[in-house]
Symmetry: C2
Subunit: 253 residues, 2 copies
């Protein structure tokens, strides 16, 4: 089960935090570290702070974009101290952890996504997450160190995973859509909305963000994505987007 | 309630860990940091790693011994990765945290005690604790950073304290004995055992440690200490120890 979780650090500034993150993960039995454009890596400081967990650093996956880092996941959980103005579900760490084994059930993979030290996850990065989680800190001093946040998340997940070790999660009857299938859907949707002029490219506002959040709350299954894309295709047959639609499923609705 | 908890770091080697501890505590709403013979303090590295929590460093209490650091506490919780051979209760972090508000009820103060980075708490230090707590880590890599351990403990305590914020703990009907009263009792007991020759000063073995653990499990009340010392006094009136016995209470049993 621990292998179903990957920890994604975006644009980390201090290599010491990457090393401390590796150590934090390994103490809690996790091993999959993904780095999106770290400023300095590999680095001696990272290795020193890893303090025996340098195997995780060596095996870390380096990515250029968060999108790339999320390939193959069915759930991306963004850690953020910020409150959003939109209706995205914001969970506490414990609430998220309690549900994690269920979320990671079946063939699903879960990504825990951490932003850069100074400013956290950008809006564009948050838009790629289906769940937002905050760690309840003192409201007057919420300046949690990056590796400390990872430590808390890994600890909470470990508590739940060990508790539920006897009751292994069942395979979902209907597998969830993977990240890349959802992104293909969003791109398809955007093209259709542009074509229909509902979406004004000069003034897009937050329309796509709102739609993403709506669908995020629903946790879309793979077949449902095909259905939705079949609908889009039927509404706008002239679409020449390059993402293939699985028309077999879509036509059998 | 948060002021009822003090975090005691014993013989910390790296000042960076002291700074990171201050930051970890402040994010979770705690402020009382006690340092027993830190190797380097104050230190620029500590201030840098505190990252805005340097007020906790400035207000930190410096002590020469753990005994001094525990003055006024009714419960000392030692954090340790080690299993002990003796029957000292070993709790998981969460079990400890769940009971913490009750333990800190009334006028009681609770100390969370952390050992030195490389080897943790010594046996002598563990003997001054009434509870031992371990953080469940991966058995193949339990090398938790000191400040990370503090972060996890502070987080767990915060979760419980906030949950129970509405149901403030009741004052204990019978106040618990303070650390120094217990220590006076142990010294008195030891003198009596030596005088009785039950305790052989040439071969003390672990007798006092075992007795400490026995009484630790019981969480002794203040009046009970007076009663016990009254008993000791009555058994060995010649004792010339300097710790005064509250004979009013003792004689009224």
């Amino acid at each position: 089960m621990f292998d179903h979780f990957r920890f994604v650090l975006c644009h980390t500034t201090h290599p010491g935090n990457i090393g401390a993150t590796a150590r934090a993960l390994k103490t809690m039995g996790f091993s999959r570290l993904v780095l999106v454009q770290p400023r300095h890596f590999p680095s001696d400081e990272a290795t020193v702070r890893a303090s025996g967990a340098d195997d995780l650093l060596q095996q870390a996956t380096l990515c250029t974009t968060l999108d790339e880092a999320l390939q193959g996941t069915t759930l991306a959980v963004g850690l953020t101290a910020r409150r959003r103005d939109l209706s995205h579900p914001m969970l506490t760490l414990r609430d998220m952890a309690v549900n994690a084994p269920l979320e990671a059930s079946g063939a699903g993979e879960v990504a825990l996504v951490f932003g850069t030290e100074m400013s956290g996850l950008s809006n564009a990065e948050l838009d790629l997450c289906q769940r937002l989680v905050h760690i309840p800190t003192d409201p007057t001093f919420s300046s949690l160190n990056l590796a400390s946040a990872v430590q808390l998340v890994a600890y909470e997940l470990r508590q739940t995973l060990l508790q539920d070790a006897t009751q292994l999660p069942q395979t979902r009857e209907y597998p969830l859509a993977h990240h890349e299938e959802l992104e293909q859907f969003y791109r398809h949707l955007e093209r259709v909305l542009l074509a229909s002029t509902f979406l004004d490219p000069q003034h897009p506002g937050r329309l796509m963000t709102r739609l993403r959040r709506l669908f995020s709350r629903a946790r879309i299954e793979r077949e449902e994505v095909n259905i939705l894309r079949g609908i889009l295709k039927s509404l706008y047959p002239a679409d020449n987007g390059s993402d293939p639609v699985d028309t077999r499923t879509a036509s059998h609705v």
